[in-house]
Protein backbone atom coordinates (compact mmCIF):
# COMPACT_ATOMS: atom_id res chain seq x y z
CA UNK A 1 0.00 0.00 0.00
CA UNK A 2 2.82 2.34 0.94
CA UNK A 3 4.47 1.89 -2.42
CA UNK A 4 1.28 2.84 -4.26
CA UNK A 5 0.27 5.91 -2.23
CA UNK A 6 3.76 7.18 -1.49
CA UNK A 7 4.84 7.11 -5.12
CA UNK A 8 1.52 7.76 -6.83
CA UNK A 9 3.03 10.16 -9.36
CA UNK A 10 5.10 7.32 -10.86
CA UNK A 11 2.06 5.05 -11.03
CA UNK A 12 0.10 7.70 -12.85
CA UNK A 13 2.92 8.32 -15.31
CA UNK A 14 3.34 4.61 -15.97
CA UNK A 15 -0.39 4.06 -16.52
CA UNK A 16 -0.62 7.09 -18.84
CA UNK A 17 2.41 5.85 -20.75
CA UNK A 18 0.89 2.39 -21.14
CA UNK A 19 -2.39 3.88 -22.41
CA UNK A 20 -0.42 5.77 -25.03
CA UNK A 21 1.67 2.73 -25.86
CA UNK A 22 -1.45 0.59 -26.28
CA UNK A 23 -3.00 3.14 -28.62
CA UNK A 24 0.19 3.30 -30.71
CA UNK A 25 0.35 -0.45 -31.13
CA UNK A 26 -3.24 -1.69 -31.17
CA UNK A 27 -5.34 1.09 -32.69
CA UNK A 28 -6.03 0.75 -36.41
CA UNK A 29 -6.81 4.38 -37.09
CA UNK A 30 -3.66 6.36 -37.82
CA UNK A 31 -4.89 9.53 -36.08
CA UNK A 32 -5.58 7.51 -32.94
CA UNK A 33 -2.02 6.20 -33.16
CA UNK A 34 -0.70 9.74 -33.25
CA UNK A 35 -2.89 10.71 -30.29
CA UNK A 36 -1.50 7.69 -28.46
CA UNK A 37 1.98 8.92 -29.29
CA UNK A 38 1.13 12.29 -27.76
CA UNK A 39 -0.20 10.69 -24.57
CA UNK A 40 2.99 8.64 -24.40
CA UNK A 41 5.10 11.78 -24.61
CA UNK A 42 2.93 13.71 -22.17
CA UNK A 43 3.42 10.95 -19.61
CA UNK A 44 7.16 11.64 -19.77
CA UNK A 45 6.54 15.35 -19.15
CA UNK A 46 4.49 14.42 -16.08
CA UNK A 47 7.31 12.18 -14.90
CA UNK A 48 9.93 14.93 -15.18
CA UNK A 49 7.77 17.63 -13.62
CA UNK A 50 6.66 15.49 -10.71
CA UNK A 51 10.27 14.70 -9.80
CA UNK A 52 10.97 18.42 -9.45
CA UNK A 53 8.24 18.89 -6.85
CA UNK A 54 9.02 19.42 -3.17
CA UNK A 55 6.53 19.73 -0.37
CA UNK A 56 5.86 23.29 0.82
CA UNK A 57 8.33 24.72 -1.69
CA UNK A 58 7.80 27.79 -3.81
CA UNK A 59 8.71 28.95 -7.29
CA UNK A 60 12.42 29.61 -7.76
CA UNK A 61 12.52 33.39 -8.02
CA UNK A 62 15.36 35.12 -6.23
CA UNK A 63 14.38 38.22 -4.22
CA UNK A 64 17.20 40.74 -3.95
CA UNK A 65 16.61 41.56 -0.32
CA UNK A 66 16.87 37.93 0.66
CA UNK A 67 20.37 37.02 1.72
CA UNK A 68 20.30 33.42 2.86
CA UNK A 69 19.16 31.01 0.17
CA UNK A 70 17.77 27.70 1.29
CA UNK A 71 17.50 25.28 -1.66
CA UNK A 72 14.85 23.24 0.13
CA UNK A 73 12.46 26.18 -0.15
CA UNK A 74 12.40 26.12 -3.91
CA UNK A 75 11.23 23.52 -6.37
CA UNK A 76 13.82 22.40 -8.88
CA UNK A 77 13.49 24.56 -12.04
CA UNK A 78 15.71 22.48 -14.30
CA UNK A 79 13.22 19.67 -15.15
CA UNK A 80 10.70 22.36 -16.08
CA UNK A 81 13.17 23.95 -18.46
CA UNK A 82 14.06 20.58 -19.94
CA UNK A 83 10.40 19.86 -20.50
CA UNK A 84 9.88 23.17 -22.28
CA UNK A 85 12.41 21.95 -24.83
CA UNK A 86 10.83 18.50 -24.88
CA UNK A 87 7.39 20.03 -25.51
CA UNK A 88 8.80 21.88 -28.52
CA UNK A 89 10.26 18.61 -29.81
CA UNK A 90 6.94 16.82 -29.24
CA UNK A 91 4.92 19.51 -30.99
CA UNK A 92 7.20 19.30 -34.01
CA UNK A 93 6.96 15.50 -34.04
CA UNK A 94 3.19 15.85 -33.90
CA UNK A 95 3.28 18.36 -36.75
CA UNK A 96 5.42 16.15 -38.98
CA UNK A 97 3.21 13.16 -38.18
CA UNK A 98 0.04 15.09 -39.05
CA UNK A 99 1.56 16.27 -42.33
CA UNK A 100 2.42 12.68 -43.19
CA UNK A 101 -1.11 11.55 -42.29
CA UNK A 102 -2.44 14.18 -44.70
CA UNK A 103 -0.22 12.80 -47.45
CA UNK A 104 -1.43 9.30 -46.64
CA UNK A 105 -5.05 10.39 -46.80
CA UNK A 106 -4.53 12.03 -50.19
CA UNK A 107 -3.00 8.80 -51.49
CA UNK A 108 -5.35 6.18 -50.10
CA UNK A 109 -8.53 8.13 -49.22
CA UNK A 110 -8.64 6.32 -45.88
CA UNK A 111 -6.88 6.47 -42.53
CA UNK A 112 -7.50 2.89 -41.50
CA UNK A 113 -4.33 0.85 -41.38
CA UNK A 114 -5.98 -2.41 -42.48
CA UNK A 115 -7.64 -0.76 -45.48
CA UNK A 116 -4.35 0.82 -46.55
CA UNK A 117 -2.60 -2.57 -46.33
CA UNK A 118 -5.37 -4.13 -48.41
CA UNK A 119 -5.03 -1.45 -51.08
CA UNK A 120 -1.28 -2.11 -51.17
CA UNK A 121 -1.86 -5.86 -51.53
CA UNK A 122 -4.28 -5.34 -54.42
CA UNK A 123 -1.70 -3.23 -56.27
CA UNK A 124 0.80 -6.08 -56.16
Amino acid sequence: MEIIIGKYNYWIYISLMMIGFYAMIAKKNLVKKIVGMNIFQTAIILFFISTAYKKDATIPILVKSQEVINPAQYINPLPHVLMLTAIVVMVSTFGVALAIIMMLYKQYKTLDEDEIIEILKKKK
Binding site: L82, V89, L120
Partner: protein, 493 residues
Protein backbone atom coordinates in the same frame (compact mmCIF):
# COMPACT_ATOMS: atom_id res chain seq x y z
CA UNK B 1 38.87 35.46 -34.02
CA UNK B 2 40.58 32.13 -33.94
CA UNK B 3 38.69 29.77 -36.20
CA UNK B 4 40.08 26.57 -34.72
CA UNK B 5 38.96 27.57 -31.25
CA UNK B 6 35.36 27.93 -32.31
CA UNK B 7 35.30 25.19 -34.93
CA UNK B 8 33.30 22.81 -32.71
CA UNK B 9 30.38 25.24 -32.41
CA UNK B 10 30.62 26.60 -35.96
CA UNK B 11 30.19 23.14 -37.43
CA UNK B 12 26.73 22.98 -35.80
CA UNK B 13 25.64 26.59 -36.24
CA UNK B 14 26.64 26.99 -39.90
CA UNK B 15 24.45 24.20 -41.36
CA UNK B 16 21.62 25.04 -38.93
CA UNK B 17 21.42 28.68 -40.00
CA UNK B 18 22.14 27.81 -43.63
CA UNK B 19 19.13 25.51 -43.72
CA UNK B 20 16.88 28.51 -42.97
CA UNK B 21 18.74 30.90 -45.26
CA UNK B 22 18.32 28.34 -48.03
CA UNK B 23 14.52 28.71 -47.88
CA UNK B 24 14.79 32.49 -48.23
CA UNK B 25 17.07 32.06 -51.23
CA UNK B 26 14.01 30.78 -53.13
CA UNK B 27 12.68 34.32 -53.25
CA UNK B 28 16.02 35.73 -54.32
CA UNK B 29 17.20 33.27 -56.91
CA UNK B 30 16.25 29.64 -57.14
CA UNK B 31 19.39 28.49 -58.92
CA UNK B 32 21.52 29.71 -56.01
CA UNK B 33 20.10 27.10 -53.61
CA UNK B 34 22.17 24.17 -54.79
CA UNK B 35 25.59 25.92 -54.90
CA UNK B 36 24.90 27.43 -51.48
CA UNK B 37 23.93 24.03 -50.09
CA UNK B 38 27.11 22.47 -51.47
CA UNK B 39 29.25 25.34 -50.16
CA UNK B 40 27.90 24.97 -46.61
CA UNK B 41 28.57 21.23 -46.55
CA UNK B 42 32.04 21.88 -47.99
CA UNK B 43 32.74 24.27 -45.12
CA UNK B 44 31.57 21.57 -42.70
CA UNK B 45 34.05 19.09 -44.19
CA UNK B 46 36.91 21.60 -43.85
CA UNK B 47 35.93 22.40 -40.25
CA UNK B 48 35.63 18.72 -39.37
CA UNK B 49 39.10 17.95 -40.75
CA UNK B 50 40.42 20.95 -38.82
CA UNK B 51 38.81 19.59 -35.63
CA UNK B 52 40.25 16.12 -36.25
CA UNK B 53 43.78 17.45 -36.75
CA UNK B 54 43.49 19.62 -33.61
CA UNK B 55 42.32 16.61 -31.60
CA UNK B 56 45.11 14.41 -32.95
CA UNK B 57 47.80 16.95 -32.04
CA UNK B 58 46.41 18.52 -28.84
CA UNK B 59 44.01 15.95 -27.39
CA UNK B 60 40.40 16.47 -26.27
CA UNK B 61 38.73 19.75 -27.19
CA UNK B 62 36.24 21.32 -24.79
CA UNK B 63 33.96 24.19 -25.74
CA UNK B 64 31.78 25.98 -23.20
CA UNK B 65 28.58 27.22 -24.77
CA UNK B 66 27.95 30.86 -23.89
CA UNK B 67 30.82 30.82 -21.40
CA UNK B 68 28.84 28.87 -18.79
CA UNK B 69 31.07 26.48 -16.93
CA UNK B 70 29.99 22.85 -17.00
CA UNK B 71 28.17 21.05 -15.39
CA UNK B 72 25.74 24.00 -15.37
CA UNK B 73 26.20 25.04 -18.95
CA UNK B 74 26.15 22.83 -22.01
CA UNK B 75 29.60 21.68 -23.01
CA UNK B 76 30.79 20.42 -26.37
CA UNK B 77 33.45 17.77 -25.95
CA UNK B 78 35.44 16.46 -28.89
CA UNK B 79 37.76 13.56 -28.31
CA UNK B 80 39.19 11.12 -30.85
CA UNK B 81 35.95 9.18 -31.23
CA UNK B 82 33.83 12.29 -31.81
CA UNK B 83 36.30 13.84 -34.22
CA UNK B 84 36.45 10.57 -36.18
CA UNK B 85 32.65 10.45 -36.47
CA UNK B 86 32.34 14.14 -37.33
CA UNK B 87 34.70 13.63 -40.27
CA UNK B 88 32.73 10.57 -41.42
CA UNK B 89 29.33 12.31 -41.17
CA UNK B 90 30.38 15.56 -42.81
CA UNK B 91 32.32 13.91 -45.65
CA UNK B 92 29.56 11.43 -46.43
CA UNK B 93 27.02 14.22 -46.35
CA UNK B 94 29.16 16.32 -48.73
CA UNK B 95 29.75 13.44 -51.14
CA UNK B 96 26.07 12.55 -51.28
CA UNK B 97 25.18 16.22 -51.67
CA UNK B 98 27.17 16.13 -54.93
CA UNK B 99 25.37 12.94 -55.88
CA UNK B 100 21.92 14.35 -55.08
CA UNK B 101 22.14 17.04 -57.78
CA UNK B 102 20.99 14.85 -60.65
CA UNK B 103 19.54 11.88 -58.81
CA UNK B 104 17.01 13.88 -56.79
CA UNK B 105 15.75 15.85 -59.80
CA UNK B 106 14.24 12.71 -61.21
CA UNK B 107 12.53 11.77 -57.98
CA UNK B 108 10.91 14.93 -56.64
CA UNK B 109 9.21 17.97 -58.14
CA UNK B 110 11.49 20.83 -59.08
CA UNK B 111 9.65 23.34 -56.92
CA UNK B 112 10.39 21.29 -53.82
CA UNK B 113 14.15 21.06 -54.36
CA UNK B 114 15.16 23.95 -52.03
CA UNK B 115 13.11 22.40 -49.23
CA UNK B 116 14.92 19.14 -49.81
CA UNK B 117 18.26 20.90 -49.44
CA UNK B 118 17.12 22.63 -46.25
CA UNK B 119 15.92 19.40 -44.66
CA UNK B 120 19.12 17.69 -45.71
CA UNK B 121 21.14 20.42 -43.98
CA UNK B 122 19.00 19.97 -40.86
CA UNK B 123 19.67 16.23 -40.87
CA UNK B 124 23.41 16.95 -41.11
CA UNK B 125 23.10 19.43 -38.22
CA UNK B 126 21.31 16.88 -36.07
CA UNK B 127 23.83 14.14 -36.74
CA UNK B 128 26.84 16.41 -36.16
CA UNK B 129 25.17 17.69 -33.00
CA UNK B 130 24.70 14.19 -31.61
CA UNK B 131 28.36 13.43 -32.13
CA UNK B 132 29.73 16.68 -30.76
CA UNK B 133 27.68 17.38 -27.65
CA UNK B 134 28.77 16.49 -24.13
CA UNK B 135 25.36 16.79 -22.52
CA UNK B 136 22.86 13.94 -22.51
CA UNK B 137 19.75 16.11 -22.78
CA UNK B 138 21.25 18.17 -25.58
CA UNK B 139 21.94 14.86 -27.28
CA UNK B 140 18.22 14.04 -27.10
CA UNK B 141 17.34 17.34 -28.79
CA UNK B 142 19.82 16.71 -31.62
CA UNK B 143 18.58 13.12 -31.88
CA UNK B 144 15.08 14.46 -32.51
CA UNK B 145 16.29 17.12 -34.99
CA UNK B 146 18.01 14.35 -36.94
CA UNK B 147 15.04 11.99 -36.73
CA UNK B 148 12.43 14.60 -37.67
CA UNK B 149 14.37 15.63 -40.75
CA UNK B 150 14.91 11.97 -41.60
CA UNK B 151 11.13 11.33 -41.42
CA UNK B 152 10.50 14.24 -43.75
CA UNK B 153 13.26 13.25 -46.18
CA UNK B 154 12.02 9.67 -46.39
CA UNK B 155 8.43 10.75 -46.97
CA UNK B 156 9.32 12.66 -50.16
CA UNK B 157 10.31 9.44 -51.91
CA UNK B 158 8.05 7.12 -53.90
CA UNK B 159 4.38 6.66 -53.08
CA UNK B 160 4.87 3.92 -50.54
CA UNK B 161 7.54 5.87 -48.68
CA UNK B 162 4.85 7.88 -46.88
CA UNK B 163 3.54 4.82 -45.04
CA UNK B 164 7.12 3.72 -44.32
CA UNK B 165 7.85 7.15 -42.92
CA UNK B 166 4.74 6.97 -40.72
CA UNK B 167 5.90 3.66 -39.24
CA UNK B 168 9.34 5.18 -38.74
CA UNK B 169 7.78 8.09 -36.82
CA UNK B 170 5.94 5.73 -34.48
CA UNK B 171 9.00 3.55 -33.84
CA UNK B 172 11.45 6.45 -33.74
CA UNK B 173 9.36 8.37 -31.24
CA UNK B 174 9.18 5.36 -28.91
CA UNK B 175 12.97 5.07 -29.17
CA UNK B 176 13.56 8.75 -28.48
CA UNK B 177 11.07 8.76 -25.59
CA UNK B 178 12.79 5.78 -23.99
CA UNK B 179 16.06 7.63 -24.29
CA UNK B 180 14.47 10.69 -22.66
CA UNK B 181 13.18 8.53 -19.80
CA UNK B 182 16.70 7.21 -19.33
CA UNK B 183 17.92 10.81 -19.11
CA UNK B 184 15.20 11.47 -16.53
CA UNK B 185 16.24 8.60 -14.29
CA UNK B 186 19.91 9.58 -14.54
CA UNK B 187 19.00 13.15 -13.64
CA UNK B 188 16.90 12.07 -10.63
CA UNK B 189 19.69 10.05 -9.14
CA UNK B 190 22.67 12.32 -9.89
CA UNK B 191 21.27 15.80 -10.51
CA UNK B 192 23.56 16.28 -13.48
CA UNK B 193 23.30 16.05 -17.25
CA UNK B 194 26.90 16.58 -18.24
CA UNK B 195 28.58 13.41 -19.48
CA UNK B 196 32.02 14.02 -17.91
CA UNK B 197 30.33 15.02 -14.64
CA UNK B 198 28.22 11.85 -14.74
CA UNK B 199 31.31 9.70 -15.32
CA UNK B 200 32.52 10.97 -11.95
CA UNK B 201 29.17 10.72 -10.13
CA UNK B 202 27.77 7.42 -11.34
CA UNK B 203 30.28 4.76 -10.10
CA UNK B 204 29.09 5.07 -6.50
CA UNK B 205 25.50 4.52 -7.63
CA UNK B 206 25.99 1.34 -9.69
CA UNK B 207 24.04 -0.82 -7.27
CA UNK B 208 20.97 1.43 -7.36
CA UNK B 209 17.89 0.19 -9.21
CA UNK B 210 17.38 3.65 -10.70
CA UNK B 211 20.72 3.44 -12.54
CA UNK B 212 19.80 0.02 -13.85
CA UNK B 213 16.41 1.28 -15.07
CA UNK B 214 18.08 4.20 -16.80
CA UNK B 215 20.53 1.86 -18.53
CA UNK B 216 17.68 -0.39 -19.66
CA UNK B 217 15.77 2.55 -21.15
CA UNK B 218 18.91 3.87 -22.86
CA UNK B 219 19.76 0.54 -24.44
CA UNK B 220 16.25 -0.22 -25.72
CA UNK B 221 15.79 3.35 -26.97
CA UNK B 222 19.04 3.31 -28.90
CA UNK B 223 18.40 -0.22 -30.17
CA UNK B 224 15.21 1.06 -31.81
CA UNK B 225 17.07 4.02 -33.29
CA UNK B 226 19.81 1.85 -34.77
CA UNK B 227 17.38 -0.91 -35.86
CA UNK B 228 18.94 -3.80 -33.98
CA UNK B 229 17.30 -6.96 -35.29
CA UNK B 230 13.89 -7.52 -33.65
CA UNK B 231 13.36 -3.74 -33.50
CA UNK B 232 14.34 -3.19 -37.14
CA UNK B 233 10.84 -3.07 -38.63
CA UNK B 234 11.00 0.57 -39.71
CA UNK B 235 14.31 0.33 -41.58
CA UNK B 236 13.79 -1.84 -44.71
CA UNK B 237 10.65 -0.04 -45.90
CA UNK B 238 12.02 3.42 -45.17
CA UNK B 239 15.32 2.93 -46.95
CA UNK B 240 13.77 1.06 -49.87
CA UNK B 241 11.21 3.68 -50.80
CA UNK B 242 13.14 6.83 -49.86
CA UNK B 243 14.82 8.87 -52.66
CA UNK B 244 18.17 7.25 -53.53
CA UNK B 245 20.28 10.13 -52.20
CA UNK B 246 18.40 10.02 -48.91
CA UNK B 247 18.70 6.28 -48.48
CA UNK B 248 22.42 6.51 -49.20
CA UNK B 249 22.92 9.32 -46.69
CA UNK B 250 20.65 7.99 -43.96
CA UNK B 251 21.87 4.40 -44.16
CA UNK B 252 25.50 5.52 -44.01
CA UNK B 253 25.19 7.95 -41.13
CA UNK B 254 22.02 7.71 -39.01
CA UNK B 255 22.65 4.18 -37.75
CA UNK B 256 26.39 4.80 -37.28
CA UNK B 257 25.71 7.83 -35.12
CA UNK B 258 23.33 5.61 -33.11
CA UNK B 259 26.21 3.18 -32.55
CA UNK B 260 28.29 6.13 -31.38
CA UNK B 261 25.60 6.99 -28.80
CA UNK B 262 25.64 3.38 -27.64
CA UNK B 263 29.44 3.54 -27.21
CA UNK B 264 29.17 6.84 -25.31
CA UNK B 265 26.47 5.54 -22.99
CA UNK B 266 28.10 2.22 -22.28
CA UNK B 267 31.75 3.25 -21.99
CA UNK B 268 31.89 6.94 -21.13
CA UNK B 269 28.76 7.31 -19.00
CA UNK B 270 29.29 3.94 -17.36
CA UNK B 271 32.51 2.05 -16.86
CA UNK B 272 33.16 -1.17 -18.79
CA UNK B 273 33.02 -3.15 -15.55
CA UNK B 274 29.42 -2.01 -15.01
CA UNK B 275 28.41 -3.74 -18.22
CA UNK B 276 30.37 -6.93 -17.69
CA UNK B 277 30.37 -7.56 -13.94
CA UNK B 278 27.43 -5.75 -12.34
CA UNK B 279 24.87 -6.17 -15.12
CA UNK B 280 24.72 -8.95 -17.72
CA UNK B 281 24.25 -6.34 -20.46
CA UNK B 282 27.47 -7.11 -22.30
CA UNK B 283 26.65 -10.79 -22.53
CA UNK B 284 23.06 -10.02 -23.54
CA UNK B 285 24.12 -7.60 -26.29
CA UNK B 286 26.57 -10.15 -27.71
CA UNK B 287 23.82 -12.73 -28.17
CA UNK B 288 21.36 -10.11 -29.34
CA UNK B 289 23.74 -8.84 -32.03
CA UNK B 290 24.69 -12.39 -33.05
CA UNK B 291 21.00 -13.08 -33.68
CA UNK B 292 20.78 -9.77 -35.57
CA UNK B 293 23.71 -10.72 -37.82
CA UNK B 294 22.26 -14.17 -38.49
CA UNK B 295 18.71 -13.11 -39.32
CA UNK B 296 19.74 -9.95 -41.17
CA UNK B 297 21.83 -12.06 -43.54
CA UNK B 298 19.24 -14.84 -43.88
CA UNK B 299 16.41 -12.43 -44.74
CA UNK B 300 18.67 -10.57 -47.19
CA UNK B 301 19.01 -13.71 -49.37
CA UNK B 302 15.29 -13.88 -50.08
CA UNK B 303 14.86 -10.31 -51.31
CA UNK B 304 14.40 -9.45 -54.98
CA UNK B 305 14.53 -5.68 -54.53
CA UNK B 306 18.14 -4.42 -54.57
CA UNK B 307 17.63 -1.62 -52.07
CA UNK B 308 15.74 -3.96 -49.75
CA UNK B 309 18.58 -6.50 -49.95
CA UNK B 310 20.99 -3.74 -48.98
CA UNK B 311 18.73 -2.71 -46.09
CA UNK B 312 18.82 -6.20 -44.62
CA UNK B 313 22.57 -6.40 -45.15
CA UNK B 314 22.75 -3.09 -43.26
CA UNK B 315 20.81 -4.68 -40.39
CA UNK B 316 23.42 -7.45 -40.26
CA UNK B 317 26.20 -4.83 -40.34
CA UNK B 318 24.62 -3.02 -37.39
CA UNK B 319 24.82 -6.38 -35.63
CA UNK B 320 28.59 -6.47 -36.34
CA UNK B 321 29.15 -3.09 -34.77
CA UNK B 322 27.07 -3.82 -31.67
CA UNK B 323 28.88 -7.15 -31.34
CA UNK B 324 32.27 -5.44 -31.46
CA UNK B 325 31.24 -2.82 -28.93
CA UNK B 326 29.83 -5.35 -26.48
CA UNK B 327 32.65 -7.92 -26.67
CA UNK B 328 34.57 -5.96 -24.07
CA UNK B 329 38.08 -6.39 -25.42
CA UNK B 330 40.45 -4.22 -27.41
CA UNK B 331 40.28 -6.11 -30.71
CA UNK B 332 36.49 -6.19 -30.78
CA UNK B 333 36.22 -2.50 -29.98
CA UNK B 334 38.78 -1.51 -32.64
CA UNK B 335 36.89 -3.69 -35.11
CA UNK B 336 33.61 -1.98 -34.27
CA UNK B 337 34.98 1.56 -34.54
CA UNK B 338 36.81 0.74 -37.78
CA UNK B 339 33.64 -0.86 -39.11
CA UNK B 340 31.71 2.37 -38.49
CA UNK B 341 33.95 4.05 -41.10
CA UNK B 342 34.09 1.09 -43.49
CA UNK B 343 30.39 0.39 -43.38
CA UNK B 344 29.50 4.05 -43.84
CA UNK B 345 31.61 4.19 -47.01
CA UNK B 346 30.53 0.77 -48.35
CA UNK B 347 26.82 1.14 -47.76
CA UNK B 348 26.82 4.71 -49.11
CA UNK B 349 28.57 3.46 -52.26
CA UNK B 350 26.17 0.54 -52.72
CA UNK B 351 23.06 2.66 -52.15
CA UNK B 352 24.39 5.26 -54.59
CA UNK B 353 24.92 2.52 -57.19
CA UNK B 354 21.39 1.25 -56.53
CA UNK B 355 20.17 4.81 -57.07
CA UNK B 356 22.24 5.07 -60.25
CA UNK B 357 20.74 1.88 -61.66
CA UNK B 358 17.30 3.15 -60.73
CA UNK B 359 18.11 6.43 -62.46
CA UNK B 360 18.92 4.68 -65.74
CA UNK B 361 16.91 1.45 -65.76
CA UNK B 362 13.99 2.67 -63.63
CA UNK B 363 13.90 -0.50 -61.58
CA UNK B 364 15.37 -1.84 -58.38
CA UNK B 365 14.49 -5.42 -59.16
CA UNK B 366 17.53 -7.70 -59.35
CA UNK B 367 16.05 -9.42 -62.44
CA UNK B 368 16.50 -6.23 -64.44
CA UNK B 369 20.23 -6.03 -63.82
CA UNK B 370 21.16 -8.37 -66.66
CA UNK B 371 24.01 -7.18 -68.85
CA UNK B 372 24.35 -3.78 -67.26
CA UNK B 373 28.13 -3.92 -67.60
CA UNK B 374 27.74 -3.17 -71.33
CA UNK B 375 26.11 0.16 -70.59
CA UNK B 376 27.57 1.20 -67.26
CA UNK B 377 31.07 -0.35 -67.04
CA UNK B 378 32.52 2.14 -64.53
CA UNK B 379 29.56 1.99 -62.15
CA UNK B 380 29.64 -1.79 -62.26
CA UNK B 381 33.37 -1.86 -61.46
CA UNK B 382 32.66 0.35 -58.46
CA UNK B 383 29.89 -2.06 -57.54
CA UNK B 384 32.29 -5.01 -57.61
CA UNK B 385 34.71 -3.16 -55.33
CA UNK B 386 32.01 -2.24 -52.81
CA UNK B 387 30.51 -5.72 -52.91
CA UNK B 388 33.89 -7.41 -52.38
CA UNK B 389 34.44 -5.13 -49.42
CA UNK B 390 31.02 -6.04 -48.05
CA UNK B 391 31.95 -9.72 -48.36
CA UNK B 392 35.28 -8.97 -46.70
CA UNK B 393 37.93 -9.85 -49.26
CA UNK B 394 41.39 -8.33 -48.69
CA UNK B 395 42.71 -5.73 -49.45
CA UNK B 396 39.34 -3.95 -49.35
CA UNK B 397 38.37 -2.11 -46.18
CA UNK B 398 35.68 -4.56 -45.10
CA UNK B 399 38.22 -7.32 -44.53
CA UNK B 400 40.17 -5.52 -41.80
CA UNK B 401 37.26 -4.62 -39.55
CA UNK B 402 35.81 -8.12 -39.86
CA UNK B 403 39.22 -9.56 -39.06
CA UNK B 404 39.39 -7.55 -35.83
CA UNK B 405 35.81 -8.47 -34.95
CA UNK B 406 36.50 -12.19 -35.38
CA UNK B 407 39.73 -11.88 -33.36
CA UNK B 408 37.82 -10.09 -30.62
CA UNK B 409 35.04 -12.69 -30.59
CA UNK B 410 37.56 -15.53 -30.36
CA UNK B 411 39.44 -13.78 -27.57
CA UNK B 412 36.22 -13.29 -25.61
CA UNK B 413 35.48 -17.00 -26.20
CA UNK B 414 32.26 -16.39 -28.11
CA UNK B 415 33.01 -18.83 -30.90
CA UNK B 416 29.41 -18.89 -32.09
CA UNK B 417 29.52 -15.12 -32.67
CA UNK B 418 32.78 -15.46 -34.59
CA UNK B 419 31.24 -18.23 -36.67
CA UNK B 420 28.17 -16.09 -37.33
CA UNK B 421 30.35 -13.27 -38.66
CA UNK B 422 32.01 -15.72 -41.06
CA UNK B 423 28.63 -17.18 -42.00
CA UNK B 424 27.23 -13.73 -42.72
CA UNK B 425 30.24 -12.96 -44.96
CA UNK B 426 29.52 -16.15 -46.88
CA UNK B 427 25.88 -15.15 -47.25
CA UNK B 428 26.99 -11.74 -48.54
CA UNK B 429 29.22 -13.57 -51.03
CA UNK B 430 26.23 -15.63 -52.17
CA UNK B 431 24.03 -12.56 -52.60
CA UNK B 432 26.60 -10.49 -54.44
CA UNK B 433 27.96 -13.25 -56.69
CA UNK B 434 24.41 -13.95 -57.78
CA UNK B 435 24.11 -10.31 -58.82
CA UNK B 436 27.55 -10.39 -60.51
CA UNK B 437 26.39 -13.37 -62.52
CA UNK B 438 23.34 -11.44 -63.70
CA UNK B 439 25.40 -8.41 -64.63
CA UNK B 440 28.37 -10.08 -66.30
CA UNK B 441 27.66 -13.64 -67.30
CA UNK B 442 24.21 -13.82 -68.85
CA UNK B 443 23.76 -15.09 -72.39
CA UNK B 444 23.73 -12.46 -75.09
CA UNK B 445 20.19 -13.32 -76.22
CA UNK B 446 18.59 -12.40 -72.90
CA UNK B 447 20.33 -9.05 -72.53
CA UNK B 448 17.89 -6.20 -73.08
CA UNK B 449 19.16 -3.55 -75.49
CA UNK B 450 19.39 -0.38 -73.45
CA UNK B 451 20.34 2.76 -75.28
CA UNK B 452 21.58 4.76 -72.31
CA UNK B 453 25.22 5.30 -71.45
CA UNK B 454 27.01 5.86 -68.14
CA UNK B 455 25.54 7.96 -65.35
CA UNK B 456 25.84 11.76 -65.42
CA UNK B 457 29.15 13.03 -64.04
CA UNK B 458 27.67 14.39 -60.81
CA UNK B 459 26.53 10.87 -59.92
CA UNK B 460 29.66 9.13 -61.27
CA UNK B 461 32.17 11.13 -59.24
CA UNK B 462 30.74 10.36 -55.77
CA UNK B 463 30.48 6.67 -56.65
CA UNK B 464 34.09 6.60 -57.83
CA UNK B 465 35.27 8.55 -54.76
CA UNK B 466 33.61 6.15 -52.32
CA UNK B 467 34.76 3.09 -54.27
CA UNK B 468 38.37 4.33 -54.22
CA UNK B 469 37.97 5.28 -50.56
CA UNK B 470 37.16 1.64 -49.81
CA UNK B 471 40.53 0.62 -51.27
CA UNK B 472 42.44 3.50 -49.68
CA UNK B 473 40.94 2.87 -46.23
CA UNK B 474 41.85 -0.78 -46.69
CA UNK B 475 45.50 0.07 -47.40
CA UNK B 476 45.79 2.64 -44.62
CA UNK B 477 43.68 0.89 -41.99
CA UNK B 478 46.84 0.34 -39.90
CA UNK B 479 47.51 4.08 -39.79
CA UNK B 480 43.88 4.90 -39.02
CA UNK B 481 43.97 2.51 -36.08
CA UNK B 482 47.30 3.72 -34.69
CA UNK B 483 46.58 7.45 -35.03
CA UNK B 484 42.86 7.66 -34.16
CA UNK B 485 41.09 4.48 -33.13
CA UNK B 486 43.76 3.41 -30.61
CA UNK B 487 42.86 6.42 -28.47
CA UNK B 488 39.13 5.71 -28.52
CA UNK B 489 39.50 2.37 -26.74
CA UNK B 490 38.05 2.90 -23.25
CA UNK B 491 40.28 2.40 -20.23
CA UNK B 492 39.92 -0.97 -18.58
CA UNK B 493 40.15 -3.14 -21.69
Amino acid sequence: MNLTEHASILIIVIPLIASFINIFLIFLKRTLCYPFFLLVLGICVILSIDILSTVISFGTLRYKLGGWTPPWGIEYVVDHLNAYLIVIVSSISFIIAIYSKDSIKKEIAKAKLPYFYSTYLLLTTGLLGITITGDIFNLYVFLEIASLSAYALIAIGEKRSVLASFNYIIMGTIGACFYLLGVGYIYIITGSLNISDLTRLLPSLYESKVTLTALAFFVVGIAIKIALFPLHRWLPDSYTFAPSAVSAFASATVTKVGIYVLIRISFTLFEPRFLTEITPLSNMLIWWSTIAIFFGSIIAIGQRDFKRTLSYILIAEIGYMVLGVSLGNKEGFIGAVLHILNDAVMIACLFMIAGGIFYRVGSRNLEDFTGLNKNMPITMSAFILAALSMIGIPPTAGFFSKWYLILGAIEAKYLISAATVVFSSLVNALIFFRIFEKIYFTKKEVIPQYTFRELPLSMMIPIIITALAILIIGFYSGEIISSIIKFTVPAGF
